[in-house]
């Protein structure tokens, strides 16, 4: 499973747990704030991804631009994993 699929699946899991209705389909340019997850949903998503991937890039990286779209969100994790591997 690639990182994009991992994030997608985690979003669905979290939506179910947090009683949020995710929009379908989630595309690269889907705005995070319009994907259906609320702030609690995002917090849970970041916590779940930390468990699965072993990183919370929002804490560990000095992020200068917060992700606005799904693609940007995935990119933050991809970069985090890359840096972790170095």
């Amino acid at each position: 499973m690639n990182i994009e699929q991992t994030v997608q699946r985690a979003m669905h899991d979290v939506a179910e747990l947090s009683d949020c209705q995710l929009i379908e389909p989630i595309k690269s340019d889907t705005l995070l704030l319009q994907s259906g997850l609320d702030s609690l949903g995002y917090a849970m998503l970041v916590a779940q991804l930390e468990e699965e991937l072993g990183i919370d890039p929002f804490t560990e990286l000095a992020i200068t631009v917060y992700p606005a779209t799904f693609a940007e969100f995935v990119a933050v994790y991809a970069r985090g994993l890359e840096q972790q591997g170095q």
Binding site: L33, T59, T64
Partner: protein, 456 residues
């Protein structure tokens, strides 16, 4: 003068409230306030509860009953249910069409729009009717107690407005309304707007993107929000479109990376993190764009308070104003209140670590762990539960629970039941996002759950 109307008049009554449909001047709101005071004239020097509907209507209630009622409980309709049945509930919605059918409202409102009022408006003052008893109203705000039941803390207008500033520059600010105005932080925004003669943009949308688009259209340039809300705003494409002049953070720990991000996006904006609590009122404001506060304040104090760190590493604060009597047990002989906030010295700064009491701060919402534990313990087969906060980069902290179950119970079934029970009895932010099965929990010699190893 010790009341809100007097304070507003002192600095020129210029505030505007931009509602979802209509914009109100403070003069218009005062006309409504006078009418409501007549309708509820029997509440002179009596306690009353003001139930929140929208900003403009809430301000009408504040103008009407401050200096008039003995106590004013600021609440939501949920909080109102918890109050003593003898206290009169007042729900005002000036945008509500049914108001025009309310016999005691319209006739009175119309009778107040007179020539005198127009002249006062031109002089920059709002006027009150002549039957003003001029009492010092106690403003009561609710906070969650350990059991989850609201606890009410009394404040005076003087203590609530200690931090409100006025200047021509502040008058030009246009604030967004992001907080619940019956809570401490929301009330601060409302009072700052009223006293400085600024503008407040109010809307009831839950959609942050829609809100932010509206802020662009209504020239919002000042926002007060929790660090969690700011992180969410940063996750939009809109924040850079808002010409921020004033950025205020409160209700949670403001971390350096968030402060840096905001400063980078809005280099000319003033950025202030406010340390305050519902119980004690405002403490102090940090404006140097650095997390925590300077160690030198422990010696010098700040404008409205003296600060100290006790042997348990708790921040202690001695405000200039008088504290609610319920806080006496937390105050030492020298008048310093134990804030229950854990701090650490780090490179010339005092850095906040979290709540010593274990209370979990989920995006500005306080969750007493004991409340969640009591819900989990209701489930048959659960022997012990320990609830604590897990640090999270989006919401500050999330709630997680360690659970010990009885032998011959299936964890998978039991954890599902726990989750259902939590959904039924708790608010969303209080529900543990993770349930962990563990073998045993450490108890103190007195048989209490050992919280000394809290995951702060």
């Amino acid at each position: 003068m010790n009341n809100l109307v007097g304070l507003i008049n002192e600095h020129g009554a210029n505030a505007n409230i931009v509602g979802a449909v209509e914009t109100y001047t403070v003069h218009q709101l005062m006309v409504y306030a006078n009418a409501y005071r007549q309708t509820y004239s029997h509440l002179s020097k009596q306690p009353a509860a003001l139930v929140y509907t929208n900003a403009a209507s809430f301000i009408v209630g504040m103008l009407a009953f401050d200096g008039y009622c003995s106590r004013l409980y600021l609440c939501s309709d949920v909080l109102a249910k918890d109050l003593d049945a003898n206290i009169t509930r007042i729900t005002i919605d000036i945008a509500d069409a049914s108001l025009t059918k309310h016999p005691s409202s319209v006739s009175v409102v119309e009778s107040f729009v007179g020539e005198d009022q127009e002249q006062e408006r031109l002089r920059g003052r709002v006027t009150t009717d002549s039957q003003y008893p001029n009492v010092v109203t106690q403003w009561c705000l609710a906070t969650s107690g350990t059991s989850g039941k609201p606890k009410w803390f009394a404040h005076t207008l003087a203590s609530l407005t200690l931090n409100c500033k006025t200047s021509p520059r502040l008058r030009d600010l246009c604030w967004a309304n992001l907080y619940q105005a019956y809570r401490y932080a929301g009330l601060q925004v409302l009072l700052q707007v009223l006293i400085s003669g600024a503008t407040l943009v109010d809307d009831d949308s839950d959609d942050l993107l829609l809100k932010m688009q509206r802020w662009v259209n209504t020239n919002v340039n000042a926002i007060s929000a929790t660090p969690s809300m700011w992180r969410q705003m940063l996750m939009s494409n809109h924040l850079h479109n808002i010409p921020m002049q004033r950025i205020t953070l409160g209700g949670e720990i403001a971390d350096q990376s968030l402060l840096d991000n905001l400063a980078k996006l809005h280099p000319t904006a003033s950025i202030a993190h406010i340390y305050a609590s519902t119980e004690a009122g405002v403490g102090f404001v940090v404006k140097d764009k650095l997390a925590g506060f300077p160690v030198s304040w422990l010696q010098q104090g700040v404008s409205n308070a003296q600060l100290a760190i006790d042997e348990k590493q708790h921040l202690r604060i001695k405000p200039k104003h008088e504290l609610d009597a319920q806080l006496t047990t937390l105050t030492d002989d020298n008048g310093y209140l134990d804030t229950q906030d854990l701090v650490r010295l780090e490179g010339g700064r005092v850095i906040f670590l979290g709540r010593a009491s274990g209370v979990i701060n989920v995006g500005g919402n306080k969750v007493p762990p004991e409340k969640v534990e009591s819900v989990i313990l209701l489930v048959e087969g659960v022997l012990q539960a320990k609830v604590y906060g897990q640090p999270n980069s989006v919401l500050g902290n999330l709630v997680v629970a360690d659970i010990v179950i009885a032998p011959n119970h299936d964890w998978s079934n039991l954890s599902r039941t726990v989750r259902e029970q939590c959904k039924l009895l708790l608010q969303r932010f209080e529900i543990p996002v993770k349930l962990r099965k563990i073998d045993s929990l450490v108890m103190s010699p007195t048989g209490k759950l050992n919280r000394s190893d809290d995951h702060v």
